[in-house]
């Protein structure tokens, strides 16, 4: 194969991988929107908070150490032990479930049957609160994330693809990050499980009923509070997965909350209510922005991938306002 074509394929492949990473964030949004009609502005911050908690537990960091030391004049920072990644992940899940329970009890239950914009505003408040709370609890330092996921270019894939280039060319193989491959596998498993849960379980149907109409769902005996706790717990789990993958790339730091910006065009394109749509949308956005950056970017000064993702999403919006997989809303007058 021609080296330029191989480079094109490499770009597409890496675009797909980047798209999976975006989809991991978008999934959390889609899940909550599908089950409760709430656009959760705090999803990015939840990913950050989950990642902070995971690293904090894993490295034995004392939560609220700065506050404790300031009040009591102590000098405590670490417990002196380190936890295996799997136990730290389990501990983080417990924290995220507790968070879901508290958020439901303190905020959501008071907002039953309110306009979506009110619920949206509540999630904006949650985002700012959680960011500050995370800072207070775990500190603002950048924390390296190490849960044993391999990263770096795959030698095996480079060797395989090197053979595809013409004889004598100095092509050195196609690049793919092992971390991205792991993320792709995790995303496929996650989406399959969530789709199965949503479509084929009684609880999943209850989730969809709540999303359609809070009051109607309540009138047929669905416990709104239980549904919300479960949905926000699952969203917390998805946030943890996204936090691990993104944290492994750049370390766990507060800019992690900005990954939500990467999820928005994915949601516009895939549809806010579709779990598979989050994945397909992510893949299209990932490939679209990478190809644009590499082939259009040099013509217009570069750094176009961020906004180009929104251009792609808006183009789809012109033809399918509900997104590729979103539910078409028909209002009869």
């Amino acid at each position: 194969m021609n080296v330029e074509f191989l480079f094109f394929l490499e770009t597409v492949l890496n675009g797909l991988m980047a798209g999976v990473m975006y989809a991991l964030v978008a999934l959390g949004f889609a899940l909550i929107f599908k089950a409760s009609g709430i656009f959760n502005f705090a999803q990015g911050v939840m990913a950050l908070f989950a990642a902070l908690t995971l690293v904090g537990l894993q490295t034995g960091q004392v939560p609220f150490a700065h506050l404790i030391n300031a009040i009591f004049g102590t000098e405590v920072h670490h417990f002196g032990w380190e936890l295996p990644a799997i136990i730290a992940i389990a501990g983080t899940l417990v924290v995220m479930v507790a968070f879901a329970y508290l958020f439901e009890g303190l905020v959501l239950k008071h907002l039953v049957n309110q306009e979506p914009i009110i619920l949206f505003m509540a999630t904006i408040g949650l985002a700012y609160f959680l960011e500050g709370f995370g800072d207070l609890m775990w500190g603002a330092d950048i924390k390296p994330m190490d849960v044993g996921i391999p990263s770096g270019g795959s030698f095996w894939w480079e060797d395989v693809t090197r053979e595809w280039a013409p004889e004598g060319s100095d092509y050195f193989g196609m690049y793919v990050d092992k971390l991205d491959v792991v993320a792709a596998i995790v995303a496929v498993v996650l989406v399959s499980a969530l789709v199965a849960f949503s479509q084929y379980t009684k609880f999943g149907r209850a989730l969809r009923a709540v999303a359609d109409d809070h009051q109607a769902a309540l009138s047929v005996g669905i416990s709104l509070r239980t549904i919300w706790v479960v949905v926000w717990s699952i969203a917390g789990f998805v946030a943890l997965v996204a936090g691990i993958m993104w944290g492994a790339k750049s370390g766990v730091q507060f800019s992690l909350s900005l990954i939500a910006l990467k999820a928005l065009p994915v949601l516009i394109l895939g549809g806010f209510t579709s779990i598979p749509g989050a994945i397909v949308g992510g893949l299209i956005i990932g490939v679209g922005e990478k190809l644009a950056e590499l082939y259009i970017g040099p013509l217009v000064g570069g750094a176009i991938e961020n906004w180009f993702a929104y251009v792609v999403a808006l183009m789809f919006l012109l033809f399918r306002p509900q997104g590729l997989f979103g539910e078409r809303i028909i209002e009869r007058i």
């Binding site: 950048i142 370390g251 590499l294």
Partner: protein
């Protein structure tokens, strides 16, 4: 009526009680301890505050005048930075160090109008080094253009003095800050014959795959980086992922902290960056910081950042402010200095090796001699390198000078254009 008088008196007493004594040396700190850039803002703010605390605790202030630090949170946000400036300038502020190129650009006309000096140490508008056009702005001991030139000089040395046909790539934050070195690198490319390729990265820079795929394809001989925040960590990680030789990857001094290299682990080993001050804590001053500030429980933070690159930079910035204030006091024969006197002190600042040793920072930075026309200082830089095993930076070269022929011409051209655009009559300097 009596009650109103009582309230008014109480209010007046409270105001009198909280206002700074006129003799205080007021140094606002436009810090960012929250938000995405907090990991960089915290150590700098800690170092800046701790040095002032040391001077107060150990020496009883500067020539008997206590330093009052007013910290204002900017979140690295330009609008908030300007708000901080407006809300603190009335407190008798002697000097602003905005710690943000964006904020610096906004403060240049404001501070000039208010007659308050700005010290953008190694950042901000490079052409502010021309003191004739920017009498209230200082960027010693070096500028971005000095940094770009020194990096090219180092690469030239590494390549045996011949850069003809070599490829150098610049990966930069797509902002005013990141674009600063482009013109210099282009001019130097003409002079040395290397091929320059540019790779902008949009804020915040968490996703750079397209950039590094291009670099992997183009295979530049060297990559240099003007990044900040998460962009640095991701770039270093991606460079390690594509197995770019890290000793051929050289960042500017804002892409050179522990924060930038630690997330990449062993992959960051050998990464290089330019530095305008020393690294580590092996200086006598740090013993005093520990004794009088950290161990005494008076540190701004928890003391854990002592000796880190950005903590050291905060200490260095505060030390330069104190030395300028001392110079101003001598110059005007008073310890009760105004912002105008502070400016004069900055413009007359001479910091030689002997004085640096007295301060407890021998060979920590180059000698500085600021003049009316040169607010950029000596423009020297050294190359530092990261050792992932020991998790330490070390300087691998001496402090080197920039290509003054190229850099000074660019400074002159840019500052004169600014003066023309803004109807500024350059001040006359003696020589």
């Amino acid at each position: 009526m009596r009650f109103k008088l009582l309230v008014a008196s109480a209010a007046a007493a409270m105001v009198m009680g909280t206002a700074p004594a006129f003799a205080d040396l007021v140094f606002p700190s436009l810090s960012y301890r929250t938000g995405p850039y907090a990991p960089n803002g915290i150590p700098f703010a800690d170092g800046y505050a701790d040095y002032f605390t040391l001077i107060n605790e150990r020496d009883g202030g500067v020539e008997g005048q206590m330093i009052k630090l007013i910290e204002c949170e900017t979140g690295y946000n330009t609008e908030k930075g300007v708000e901080c400036y407006e809300s603190t300038k009335g407190e008798g502020a002697l000097l602003y160090q905005p710690l943000s190129t964006g904020i610096t650009y906004q403060l240049i006309p404001k501070a000039t109008a208010d007659n308050i000096p700005v010290h953008s140490m190694g950042y901000g508008r490079t052409s502010a080094a021309n003191g004739k056009v920017f009498p209230w702005v200082f960027n010693y001991p070096g500028t971005y253009w000095d940094a770009a030139s020194i990096i090219v000089k180092y690469i030239n040395d590494q390549e045996g003095g011949d850069l003809n046909g070599k490829k150098i790539a610049l990966v930069y934050h797509n902002s005013a800050y990141g674009k600063e070195p482009i013109r210099t690198l282009e001019e130097l490319a003409k002079k040395h014959g290397y091929e320059l390729s540019l790779y902008p990265v949009d804020h915040p820079g968490q996703e750079q795959k397209a950039t590094w795929l291009q670099i992997r394809k183009e295979r530049p001989d060297y990559v240099t980086m003007w990044g900040w925040g998460v962009m640095n960590q991701v770039a270093i990680q991606e460079a390690a992922n594509i197995r770019f030789p890290m000793d051929h990857f050289i960042g500017v001094w804002w892409s050179a902290s522990e924060n930038d290299v630690l997330p990449a682990g062993d992959g960051a080993n050998g990464y290089k960056a330019i530095a305008f001050h020393g690294v580590g804590s092996d200086f006598p001053l740090f013993d005093d910081l520990k004794k009088y500030v950290i161990d005494a429980g008076k540190a701004a933070g928890d003391g854990s950042h002592l000796g880190e690159v950005l903590y050291n930079r905060g200490v260095y910035a505060a030390m330069l402010a104190v030395e300028a204030a001392r110079t101003a006091m001598k110059l005007h024969d008073t310890t009760d200095i105004t912002p105008t006197m502070m400016r004069d002190g900055m413009e007359a600042l001479v910091l030689d090796n002997a004085r640096m040793a007295e301060i407890g920072l021998p060979n920590f930075g180059p000698e500085i001699n600021v003049t009316c026309s040169n607010h950029g200082g000596p423009g020297l830089g050294a190359i530092s390198q990261w050792d992932a095993n020991s998790k330490t930076w070390s300087l691998v070269t001496d402090f080197m000078g920039a290509d003054r022929e190229v850099v000074d011409a660019l400074i002159m051209e840019d500052s004169e254009a600014y003066a023309a655009e803004n109807n500024i009559e350059p001040v006359a300097c003696g020589s």
